[in-house]
């Protein structure tokens, strides 16, 4: 359920209608050509868990899963995602039923102010999938074989998510903890 109902008025000089699936539900948004996926999620669908940090793809606070892959929703035009499947932090767990990563962030205190946390958790969700698929990273000693989940790998693979409180060590611990729970 959306935690807030927002109905921001977009400029509608170039009016459009786009349908996509958000957290398993079919949604339709009316928007201007310029509207980003991030703004459509927050301002029109009321899904404010996805945060608007830098709005330039540098901080990762707006990370969502797009057809299962992590992307910066601030660098996606809503118009380009007709028919796509979007998963936001609201789709991963709820206050009543936290998922393994959310529990681990709480257990390890993997945040301070919490603003980057939804992006961190959505990003880490995809990151663990990438590891399972054997995708290498810049930190990987070999491009082949199983990829280890050590601290250096987690740091490199999460470098698209900034934390201005610099809770990085605990964020990495939380991710390592959740990965162990899952495996």
């Amino acid at each position: 359920m959306p935690i807030a109902q927002a109905h921001a008025t977009f400029k509608q000089e170039s009016h459009m209608r786009t349908r996509f699936t958000v957290n398993g539900e079919a949604r339709e948004v009316e928007h201007d050509t310029r509207t980003t996926l991030l703004d459509a999620l927050r301002d029109q669908l009321g899904l404010t868990g996805t945060k608007k940090g830098c709005d330039h793809g540098q901080c990762g606070a707006c990370t969502v899963l797009l057809n299962g892959k992590r992307v910066n929703s601030c660098l996606c035009l809503a118009a380009m995602h007709e028919g796509d499947e979007v998963t936001t932090i609201e789709g991963l767990g709820s206050p009543e039923a936290l998922n393994a990563l959310q529990k681990a962030f709480v257990a390890k205190d993997g945040y301070q102010c919490g603003f980057c946390t939804p992006g961190q958790i959505v990003s880490a969700t995809a990151m663990l999938e990438e590891l399972r698929a054997g995708d290498p990273s810049f930190a990987s000693a070999s491009l082949e074989g199983e990829m280890p989940l050590d601290d250096a790998e987690i740091a490199e693979r999460m470098s698209g998510n900034l934390c201005r409180c610099s809770a990085y060590p605990l964020i990495r611990e939380a991710i390592a903890m959740a990965a162990e729970v899952k495996s």
Binding site: K11, K69, A79, M80, G160
Partner: protein, 340 residues
């Protein structure tokens, strides 16, 4: 962001019909949308090519790989064939951007991405690339990231891609389709124009031409490939300098070397004299130092980029040590071997 019209092309010929004056092609959008938000770019129309099937996928055509222009950076870096046969390409891509960006950024878009010169980004400063004839604020400005080769009095901007540097050392070609549907192929380096007195003209693409694919030639047996990148942060930062090296040994001598350099020029930089200086040499710091001297002698530095000369020299020597097996990887591991 300025208002624009949006249209989606389902086919290449459909796209050709939509690309006209004032239009930009959009695929991953990671660079273009960022620039549109700050109004450095304000196209009147966006033609969305991201759904065109003909531009997707990576296929083995018997002579190497054909990489569709829409293949994402992530797809490329993780592709099993690329990891084993062209590991340099995987390494270079993984050395750039973040996982989120690599999931959206496309092969064609990576080649055509714009410079990160701070004066190009700042609409209050003079920039001949953004506004031809306005001047170049970088000349008297502050600029740690500026280029040292191939620049002009009108532009000091560096091309930011890591992927393009690897593709250049691997002698890849770009496949281009004209508005009329004709296809031509160019080596990656020939895609780019040096700034001269028209820094705004960055490539040789004619109006309406689009990049459809990149072609990787079959790998040579037993080459060692290294991508060595130096940057201000450990991750998610552009190169101060980078070196892509593909080296083939002939006994205990260097048989051939194909080098390309990033972060130092308006395009992936190459210098045939540097490659040639290594052929037939016994691997060692004397030969590597000589080659590095040949390269660095051509540099023309802004006061803020003087440091790039010794940095590039040392990075090249370190990369060549790895590429000739004299040293294990210093950077973690950017060396890999092609199976014969």
């Amino acid at each position: 962001m300025r208002d624009f019209e949006y249209s989606r092309a389902e086919t290449l010929s459909g796209a050709a019909g939509q690309i006209g004056e004032g239009a930009s092609v959009v695929a991953g959008g990671t660079n273009l949308l960022d620039l549109m938000k700050i109004q450095v770019m304000s196209p009147a129309r966006l033609v969305d090519i991201s759904r065109i099937g003909e531009l997707q996928g990576i296929s083995d055509d018997g002579e190497g790989l054909r990489i569709g222009a829409l293949a994402t950076n992530s797809e490329l870096a993780a592709d099993g064939r690329i990891r084993s046969g062209w590991p340099l390409l995987s390494r270079a891509i993984l050395a750039g951007a973040s996982a989120q960006i690599r999931n959206k950024a496309t092969t064609g878009g990576n080649l055509l991405q714009r410079t990160r010169c701070p004066y190009f980004y700042d609409t209050a400063m003079a920039c001949n690339k953004r506004s031809p004839g306005e001047g170049c604020a970088a000349q008297e400005g502050v600029g740690r990231m500026l280029a040292i080769f191939g620049t002009s009095e009108h532009c000091l901007a560096a091309h930011p891609s890591d992927m393009a540097v690897a593709l250049t050392a691997l002698r890849a070609e770009v496949e281009i389709r004209s508005k009329e549907g004709e296809t031509r192929r160019l080596p990656v380096t020939e895609l780019y124009r040096l700034p001269g007195d028209r820094p705004d003209l960055e490539t040789v693409l004619a109006p309406g031409e689009i990049i459809t694919a990149v072609r990787l030639p079959a790998p040579m047996a037993e080459t060692r490939q290294v991508y060595s990148k130096v940057r201000d942060r450990a991750s998610y930062a552009f190169a101060l300098v980078s070196v892509a090296a593909v080296v083939q040994m002939d006994g205990d001598r260097i048989g051939s070397a194909s080098l390309a350099f990033g972060g130092v020029a308006p395009r992936p930089w190459t210098d045939p004299e540097v490659d040639q200086a290594l052929v037939g040499a016994a691997p060692g710091d004397e030969a590597f130092g000589n080659a590095a001297d040949v390269l660095v002698a051509q540099a023309q530095c802004h006061p803020d980029t003087e440091f790039k000369k010794p940095l590039l020299r040392r990075t090249l020597i370190a990369a060549l040590r790895e590429a000739t097996g004299l040293a294990e990887t210093a950077t973690g591991a950017s060396t890999a071997r092609i199976p014969a």
